[in-house]
């Protein structure tokens, strides 16, 4: 536990964050959406080429579906990122948030969530790029 009398602690160390016990579940949310987007995109492409278009056929509606998956995934990742940013911005301390206080744990969780959301955002875009440039199942 942090000692509230220590002067090197941020001043809000004595003020508990909105939730005394933060949940870790927000952390893997964005990478999970990235993974699900990857899976959905490639399963859709594989089923489309195997069952609908055939070898050498056009990707057609599969590209539209990948576009929809991408829009939904990016929106969820952006929301997660914003939630992380709110936690990171709690109080007026700056990164790296490495004091052993409830408030800094709250901020650190938010900061890590923001970084993972940024990574997942870019990765999801890169997963979707082949559907932009590839028009056929070949």
């Amino acid at each position: 536990m942090a000692d509230p009398q220590r002067l090197d602690l941020p001043h809000d160390a004595r003020d508990p964050p909105p939730r005394a016990r933060d949940s870790l579940w927000i952390l893997p949310l964005a990478p999970t959406v990235w993974a699900l987007h990857f899976l959905a995109s490639y399963v859709t492409g594989a089923v489309w080429c195997a069952k609908v278009a055939g070898y050498g056929g056009p990707l057609g509606d599969a590209r539209v579906l990948v576009g929809i998956y991408t829009a939904v995934a990016l929106a969820i990742i952006a929301l997660v990122g914003m939630a992380g940013w709110r936690r990171h911005s709690y109080g007026d301390a700056t990164a790296p948030h490495d004091f052993a206080t409830a408030a800094d744990r709250h901020r650190f969780l938010g900061f890590a969530t923001v970084l993972l959301a940024a990574l997942s955002f870019v990765a999801t875009l890169l997963v979707a790029l082949p559907a932009v440039f590839t028009g056929s199942c070949r």
Partner: protein, 336 residues
Amino acid sequence: MPALPIPFLTHGRRLTAAAGVLALAACDGPQSTLTPAGVGAERIADLWWWMFGGAVVIWVVVIGLAVYATRFGTGRHDVRRARLLIIGAGAVFPTVVLTALLIWGLRLMPVLRPPTGDAAVRVEVEGLRWWWRVTYVTPDGRRIPLANEIRLPVGQMAAFTLTSPDVIHSFWIPSLGGKMDMIPGRVTELALEPTRTGVFRGACAEYCGTSHALMQFGVEVLEPAAFDDWLATQAAPAEAPASPEAARGRELFLAFGCGACHAVRGTPADGTIGPDLTHVGGRLTLGAGILPNDPAAFARWIGDTHEVKPDAEMPPFGMLPAADLRALALYLDGLT
């Protein structure tokens, strides 16, 4: 050639310079992606040179920053500017560069895999441990079997159909284009369009067992008329032996049962387990790209098969008298 004097370099630096020149010289040759002779290879080489140039620039900047940080700028730096450098050069810049490279690669894929409906030449290649069964299919449906060699007409697209009955191999002629895996149970395709004539080399690019590194093949790009002549020769049955010793070689070939595995069209030998030998004497190489094509190499292959290619399916015939080996070698060498 006498070495040129380089007076301003120390002995060690001369050695380094010589090593560099040798390393660059290795980029040339019949099996280099950096001296392209095909449409696909040219596009791949373009991408490679841009990546190489970019990597050199980044390397110089990083080393320059390291030298600056350790020699000249050892004092405190503004935190905001330092953070900007880390985020900008460490996260944003690589993301932009990798995205640009991905887009370049994705746009390149249709060029490397064009539709092959109007290909001038159709070739089926089966990768086996450790050789290549090659079949040219003519527009009228005739099938011309040969092995361990690809010849193509310049300026025309060739469509390859690739298969494997044993393990995964990969068919690659670096000078002409990208590689394509040969996967058991699947049929893959590759299109190559040579842009200049010459002799090149292909190789298996996927580890496939003991003699993987000895699974190569000769490639020759010819003028279209010369290619037609060559294919007509390949379609014809084998020539009769030109000398009495070669004729004895043919008798030995049939008597020792070589025809159980090898075919020599025009003779009773009609095996399909090993390579078709109808025109083996006219090929660029022996043993799938690993020996020169001459009588001595034939004798070595027949007598010391497993020394030349470890674990090859063919049993060695080193027990044969030297005269028999020589006769066999002369016969096979005459099958042009």
